[in-house]
């Protein structure tokens, strides 16, 4: 019985939260990796683009709520996401047309692109804050829990409760669907394959008649979808605050590089690597050991490897280690 309790404890406090957080990171990381692989620059505006998409989703959610439209037990935001995506894609294409296109034609070095993306970061941050303000916002409605901790205890008779938030299930479900669709698109369709070819070798791809304009367009469209959904899911699960989104850029970068930048599958797994290591290393295992060890061996301290204050530092340290020892990432991305 104690053993089952211990497992439930880990599921509740480590596995499910890490899986959710990892999914949110993974979507962002694929976004970074696609931009890097195809447009060839590190996009420092990642976090703020995600917050722009989320903002659009929130505005539509409010609009639907004022109309009285809702999805019953599901959050209204799910209905608003497609409209948010359209807005996001339009904004990205606008930025591409007025900012990035010029440097692409100039064949500027990646550093210059990165600098330009910092300009975009400032502008996007301003736009988001001017439109919706810097405050912390919750836009979740509908049923909050699928299983509550107390109910779970009553049903199973265990000491430990397992709480399952509906946002966690939605996040994981949407991520799986979206990522499978994306991989199907990249590996099976003609456009997807030509994107891969363009990413591998631009000149060869151009020679074989691939239209670069179309590739860029499709990339921004996919990026818009990923950014909006990733951002909106994070906002639903936690809350929307522009500053947090800007900060999330860092673990997202870490995930993309750990997975091997330019490699979407690596980025997907990288998200989970980062999320799990952050939570595994900062969790206090005292209760877990109390269940599985005999009473005489129970630990006195919290059995915590690092204090939770260092959550971000964990993912950055992993990144630094990967950069030093295996700069192409765990799953071979572009060699640097």
């Amino acid at each position: 019985m104690d053993f089952v309790n211990a497992i439930i404890l880990l599921l509740n406090y480590i596995f499910i939260p890490a899986l959710t957080y990892g999914s949110q990171l993974a979507l962002g990381a694929i976004f970074v990796t696609l931009i890097y692989g195809i447009l060839r620059f590190a996009n420092f505006a990642t976090g703020d683009m995600m917050s722009f998409g989320t903002m659009a989703t929130i505005l539509f959610t409010w609009y639907f709520q004022s109309l009285g439209v809702s999805l019953g037990v599901l959050p209204t935001a799910l209905l608003a996401i497609p409209f948010g995506i359209i807005f996001m894609i339009l904004y990205m294409l606008l930025i591409d047309k007025f900012v990035f296109k010029y440097y692409r034609h100039q064949k500027s070095p990646p550093v210059q692109f990165a600098m330009v993306s910092i300009g975009v970061m400032f502008v996007t941050q301003a736009v988001v804050r001017i439109i919706i303000g810097p405050a912390d916002r919750r836009f979740f409605d509908g049923e909050k829990f699928i299983i509550k901790a107390r109910e779970f205890k009553e049903i199973t008779g265990l000491n430990e409760g397992l709480a399952l938030k509906s946002t966690q299930v939605i996040t994981i479900f949407v991520t799986i669907v979206l990522v499978s669709l994306l991989f199907w698109f990249l590996n099976r369709t003609k456009t997807g394959k030509s994107m891969k070819a363009y990413s591998d070798n631009e000149d060869l791809a151009l020679l074989s008649g691939i239209d670069p304009k179309k590739i860029v367009l499709v990339t921004w469209v996919i990026a818009g979808i990923l950014a909006t959904i990733g951002g909106a899911l994070y906002g639903l699960d936690k809350s929307f605050k522009p500053f947090t989104y800007f900060n999330n850029m860092l673990p997202i970068f870490a995930a993309a590089i750990v997975g091997g930048i330019g490699n979407p599958f690596g980025a997907f797994l990288g998200g989970y690597v980062i999320a799990f290591s952050e939570i595994l290393l900062t969790y206090a295992y005292k209760k877990f050991f109390m269940y599985i060890l005999p009473e005489s061996m129970e630990p006195n301290s919290l059995v915590q490897l690092l204090s939770t204050d260092y959550k971000f530092a964990v993912s950055f340290s992993i990144l630094v280690i990967v950069l030093i020892y295996r700069p192409s990432g765990i799953f071979k991305g572009k060699v640097l």
Partner: protein, 443 residues
């Protein structure tokens, strides 16, 4: 630029003008540091925030009086941990030197590091708890050395240079945009440590009331020569007032204002000295054979390498030099504020804004860097009043109650981000070398 600051002095107040001017000077120092790395050598360093914070930490560690009680409570444990760290580093060095490169060596080094960290964590925990328990509302940390805070400017440079040495050893081999990401993340780690190691830095509880190199306002207000000085300066204004009591009240008011202006002027003087010294040094370096070599390395690394220049070593050197200058600026910043708030170090303000200054001012040109620091910081501060004026101007026909206008006026503080972003984008597009481009005289 000076005219703009003078205008602020005349229209807003001299106090505001001087505080803008002081921060402009500090920004100029930071920008010079970043400019050395980016403009001279083409190294991209997004970790400016980390070096700034280390400079600030130096100011705390140098100037605060040591907390004797805390040293008694946990000093021994902390020294033991430091000793353990030194032993760990030596053991790793020994293993690296003694054994040939192999998988076993890599794993054993990893094992040494992990077990070392665990050992240090468990051995230092009681000491840290004891230190943090010593009067936590006031101290709760080890304190510093109780020296004049001016020394911290040099120590800050040493701290930042030391960190840059480690970072440079680790990350300088990376390609440009990876170096940017790696330095950004490392600076976040530094901030996380400063924020949460309360025994060293008091963390988010902040350190306030640091010593000053300049006199205190309260002391000045009671000093005779200062009151006489203020009286002399404002004799015209004072002579108009007939009533003696009113005259005294007016004089008091002027002395209070004048004292804070005077203190700020003292800081300006000190900062100006630093800026001028750095400017002379960096100018000399830029036109020296060493500067020519750096430009050669920047423009064509392989050719420079083939000419027998040690690219790796020079990159490391310039990375350390630039970071050390940023460290000086960090210590200056804390000196002028008189307080150390680890929570306020954010990449937006201390990394990206500095980069905007470098790019806008003109990379590779020291005067450009200073100009960038002044222009961008001035706009950053005055963006809110300027945009408020613009909004009122363009929406003059719309009634005050209009929701859109009210919303815009409410979000005035965020227009500074818009200004910075647009400014950066326009400069990058139409004047990619900055306002004052790099000028290289070929003799």
């Amino acid at each position: 630029m000076m005219v703009l600051i003078l205008m602020v002095g005349i229209f807003q107040s001299w106090n505001i003008a001087l505080s803008i001017f002081n921060l402009c000077l500090i920004s100029a120092v930071m920008t010079m540091g970043a400019n050395i790395q980016w403009g001279y050598a083409g190294l991209i360093n997004f970790g400016i925030m980390g070096y700034t914070a280390l400079g600030g930490l130096a100011a705390v560690l140098i100037s605060v009086d040591p907390v004797q009680e805390a040293w008694r409570a946990g000093g021994f444990d902390i020294l033991m941990s430091l000793w353990l760290i030194v032993v760990m580093v030596l053991v790793i060095r020994f293993v690296l030197k003694r054994f040939e490169k192999s998988k076993i060596r890599t794993y054993s080094i990893a094992a040494i590091i992990i077990s070392g960290i665990l050992l240090i964590r468990f051995s230092s925990e009681p000491g840290i708890e004891a230190i943090e328990a010593v009067d936590p509302a006031k101290t709760g940390f080890l304190g510093g050395f109780g020296l004049p805070i001016i020394f911290s400017w040099i120590v800050g440079a040493l701290f930042a240079g030391g960190l840059a040495f480690i970072v440079g050893k680790v990350a300088l081999g990376l390609r440009a945009d990876y170096l940017a990401i790696a330095t950004l993340l490392i600076s976040e780690i530094v901030i996380a440590i400063i924020k949460h190691e309360d025994w060293l830095t008091r963390g988010v509880k902040n350190v306030i009331g640091l010593k000053r190199p300049a006199p205190y306002e309260v002391d000045l207000q009671t000093t005779d020569w200062f009151i006489n000085l203020v009286e002399k300066f404002n004799s015209g204004k004072l002579s108009v007032i007939e009533n003696l009591a009113d005259k005294q009240a007016a004089l008091n008011q002027l002395v209070i204002e004048g004292s804070s202006v005077f203190v700020k002027l003292c800081y300006s003087g000190l900062f100006l000295v630093v800026v001028i010294i750095l400017l002379i040094l960096t100018q000399k370096a830029l036109y020296s054979p060493w500067g020519r070599m750096m430009r050669a390395i920047r423009d064509n690394e392989e050719a420079a390498n083939a000419m027998g220049k040690n690219v790796v070593k020079q990159h490391l050197l310039i990375f350390i030099l630039g970071s050390a200058i940023v460290g000086i600026a960090g210590a200056m910043l804390v000196t002028q504020d008189g307080l150390f708030t680890p929570g306020s170090y954010r990449p937006m303000r201390y990394t990206f804004l500095i980069w905007v200054m470098v790019i806008v001012g003109g990379s590779g040109n020291n005067f450009g860097a200073i100009l960038g620091g002044f222009v961008v910081w001035f706009l950053w501060i005055e963006a809110a009043p300027i945009s408020l004026f613009l909004i009122n101007f363009f929406t003059a026909g719309i009634p005050e109650t209009n929701a859109l206008k009210a919303h815009l006026i409410e979000s005035v503080p965020y227009f500074r981000f818009l200004m910075m972003g647009l400014g950066l984008l326009f400069i990058m597009r139409y004047r990619p070398k900055g306002i004052l481009p790099e000028k290289i005289e070929i003799k």
